[in-house]
Chain length 436, copies 2
Amino acid sequence: MAYTAIELIETKRDRSVLSPDAIEWLIGAYTDGSVPDYQMSAMAMAILLNGMNSDELTAWTEAMLHSGEVMDFSEIAAAKVDKHSTGGVGDKISIPLVPVVAACGVYVPMISGRGLGHTGGTLDKLESIPGFTTGLTPDEFRKVLTEHGLVLAGQSETMVPADRKLYALRDVTGTVPSIPLIASSIMSKKLAEGLDGLLLDVKTGSGAFMKDLVHARALAHTMVGIGASHEVDTVAFITSMSQPLGNEVGNANEIKESIDVLRGEGPADVSELTMVFGETMLELAGVDGGRERLDDAIRSGAALQKFIDVTEAHGGDASVIEDPSLLVRAPHEAVIAAPADGYVTRCDAFIIGVSATWLGAGRERKKDIPDPGVGITLKAKIGDEVAKGDPLAIVRYGDQTKWETQSDTLSSAWTVSERPVSAPELIIERVDVTTI
Amino acid sequence: MAYTAIELIETKRDRSVLSPDAIEWLIGAYTDGSVPDYQMSAMAMAILLNGMNSDELTAWTEAMLHSGEVMDFSEIAAAKVDKHSTGGVGDKISIPLVPVVAACGVYVPMISGRGLGHTGGTLDKLESIPGFTTGLTPDEFRKVLTEHGLVLAGQSETMVPADRKLYALRDVTGTVPSIPLIASSIMSKKLAEGLDGLLLDVKTGSGAFMKDLVHARALAHTMVGIGASHEVDTVAFITSMSQPLGNEVGNANEIKESIDVLRGEGPADVSELTMVFGETMLELAGVDGGRERLDDAIRSGAALQKFIDVTEAHGGDASVIEDPSLLVRAPHEAVIAAPADGYVTRCDAFIIGVSATWLGAGRERKKDIPDPGVGITLKAKIGDEVAKGDPLAIVRYGDQTKWETQSDTLSSAWTVSERPVSAPELIIERVDVTTI
């Protein structure tokens, strides 16, 4: 069937439905360059404003997913399950989660991203382990997964090229915040991993991209629907990102906290989310044992050993896992002190994420390279009682000028009040095929 | 003030209002290439779907108009008035209208366009007069206007470059049918002519771009509003384009019919519209005499002489005006015959326009050069009684293969029924600053 980009743009502009054939043609023609950026950006705006129905969304995701190489691990008999988070501050959950479920027999072919905006990225965190290489060839990826049951790598050039191209275009044309485009972008990348099951962590709150529950829920439902239409069991959790997860923000800091979780010594919120997600991934993989089996993997050291094994398989120096004090630390230290006696009623994830980024933990521009040693250790979070002068956070940084521009901003992330409040509910809701 | 294209796209996407400064920046940056096509096409789609308010529209038109050279004829004491049609089939009104009003002392610095889609263009029609050159330098344009009181040329490269660039982009991104974008495109070009008054002919019906009255009315009101905000007296007529205007469609054919009008021998509809528009242009110019003065200009031969003068000033061979049988004619002739006795109840302007284009009178692609001798002479229009076998139209064409592909299509433009219907009302309504 022959199409023209103009007629397809007109179809969406006029609120009609694009056929699966038309979508397949469009994504193919955009990927090979025969449909130019200026047509795709008009289409993206029409989709943002007029939406896509579930058939269009299925076809769009399918076309993106097949725009490049699709992985096939069918020679591995065990179930392959992955997890994706929409991103937050202090969200290091993947790092303890993948080893612990792998230690229970679930195969995890995880492809992660880098920090963008105020959020950190799993790849940047892993690379604070000396030698840890996240850029693997497809053969290396398969080898690490097959040998160890887990792999933690970046996306190769050959996977979902349509998404890479479209994402870059959306970023400069005001067409990022479209639920169908966000959902199909995430799901096309994950479905190209050849999975049996997928767990999605959709964050909501100040430190998340979806600031409010309505949008987070719409995204979760949309992604679970795409998973179902591609016959991949998909469960989404909507979780709170109003304050950072755990006590550590920053690349090496978060590796240290992840190791704590794998040793059974992590902070309650990170440990709990790791375990809830782990249980769900075991379920999705059809692996028995649940929470108890996960606890055993931690207690026995099997989970930590998996992390050591995968670190070595990626060329990393595992001695920092056995002794996290060997991890790099930025040279300077500063303290944010409580301005009054009282209770922390706000510990704003967005502000803390932005400050960490500006101090060097993240990227202001794509080409920036994060400093692994920059980080913020939270000493008081929502609900905690503090006395005036108590540390709210300890900041490690490398550049004094940067710190001076950030100190007031970072301090403004906390509110200390006379009356106590409860910490926010960590898990807001669970969304699966039975609830959409 | 510094802007980024992304924030302005987001503003329009989110249904907020763009400031005049922001619009001026955007149009300037698009014209000089610092805002790329892929951002402008996303903006155009956001405008198409979310609209612009009247302040935005004024600023948008103003910025387009000042993107290039703006003509200034203030050294000519007489009023300068122009006319623009949104385009139709057989719409040659400008050709008799401009000489007749010029013969009454109104100066007309007319910049016209070429045929696009199923419609003809004034420049293509004029160029069927041997030697008639429509591409004038600004100095030549001024000289012809000053000496003769009228000029009929194409747009120079230096006028409204933003519109030329944006129109080409809209054409390939599904963003043509936006009332604010159409209105600002037309009005920026006309206002750059340095006018005192402007008459707009907004066509509606099958052969028009605005197929229905609701959209035609919206466009007319929008353009009259832009005229008012730029202090140019503007009157719009909404006129019928359900059947072609006059009896001739095709370039040389329409020159012949225009000469008939200037001789006082034109078909009733073309002559009437010419006179109504002429009266309004005299009013807009503050020239007395009205219809009677226009009639005198025809009767005395002054109007025809103006057409001869301007033709010679443009390098054209005026002998074809004195003897229209010298105009080029395509070599072959065919007749469309009435399929039954009865009354013509439909004579579809769109189908006739498309057939004329395909036979070679217009352009399928921008680079095509129309054949001036191809044309269709209508022998029966809506309301006429016909006997089976009577000619409905006589077609002149050059390419037998093209005719064979068009003969059935063209025949389908007519419906002959048992009961008579009236011809459609030619002028549907008049819109001016008192009625919007």
